[in-house]
Symmetry: C2
Subunit: 160 residues, 2 copies
């Protein structure tokens, strides 16, 4: 199928939460996200990459900014329970996403997105992708500039 | 909107590639993915979480298994160019995904997926999510068991 980049989306009302030094065995991810779901916290992105050199994992996720205090309290207990490392919280993020179809069979799309952001000297702080959505977190103050750079790169009108 | 988990998908023909000790400034992600796209490598998942304690980043991505050797060659040059840490390659992964809509406004879906896998003692090695797709990498030999656990949890018929 041909690739179609349909639009660029910007979200500025999120906070990025991370927990590191997390033990890497079955049940740990559930231990983190079940308490959040019990409190009806909406979680948007979740990323977990490769473990660190000690075999510990790190999970980063985004929530609505107004939930931050509630999330921090929950995560403090989770960290205790898991014997995890440190919980980080960053409210200064914006999520910039490219929405498309068939992006997996078109290797260049993610590369073009990353290149377009780098031309504006925008640092990419988190990446989470799927075939139809490539999302990056950038500094909130760079959000509008990021969107414009992507509109230009993909020759798009502003997504409504 | 109400959440609708539509199906579970399993992919067994992938390899997980990671690069750590990556400098965290604009242009680096492009440096990694442009050479891959030049060689027409299809990249599926890309995850980048929070930087490590030295401020270095780590990026993990998946490619079709038959591209592995080609990718490793490209990544060796990239690592050199970036002064990065180490390139890892793992062909023993399966990708298990939940496909749905409105999953973000239903905090429990990811938690239920993680819990269902943990009940089968399946370790989650990577997570990448969006509103309509939650993907986890597990050991390839656990792939079928993971799919069955998720069908059971979400009361689904096998996705065609
Ligand atoms: C770190 C976390 O994902 C763990 N591996 C689990 O399976 O729950
Ligand atoms: C690590 C990588 O994502 C880097 N921060 C960049 O912007 O390209």
């Amino acid at each position: 199928e041909s690739v179609l980049v349909r639009g660029v989306a910007l979200e500025k009302n999120q906070a990025k939460i991370s927990i590191d030094g997390v033990p890497d065995y079955p049940g740990v991810a559930a231990e983190i996200f079940e308490p959040l779901s019990k409190e009806n916290i909406n979680v948007d992105l979740i990323v977990q990459g490769a473990p660190d050199r000690e075999g510990k994992s790190e999970i980063t996720f985004t929530v609505d900014r107004e939930e931050t205090e509630k999330v921090i309290k929950i995560m403090a207990k989770v960290k205790e329970k898991l014997g995890a490392g440190k919980v980080g919280c960053d409210k200064g993020v914006a999520k910039v996403s490219i929405v498309g179809v068939g992006m997996r069979t078109h290797p260049g799309v993610a590369a073009r997105m990353f290149k377009a952001l780098s031309r504006e000297k925008i640092n990419i702080e988190l990446i989470s992708t799927s075939e139809i959505l490539i999302s990056c977190l950038v500094r909130e103050e760079e959000g509008e500039k990021a969107v414009q750079a992507l509109h230009k790169e993909f020759e798009l009108e502003k997504m409504q």
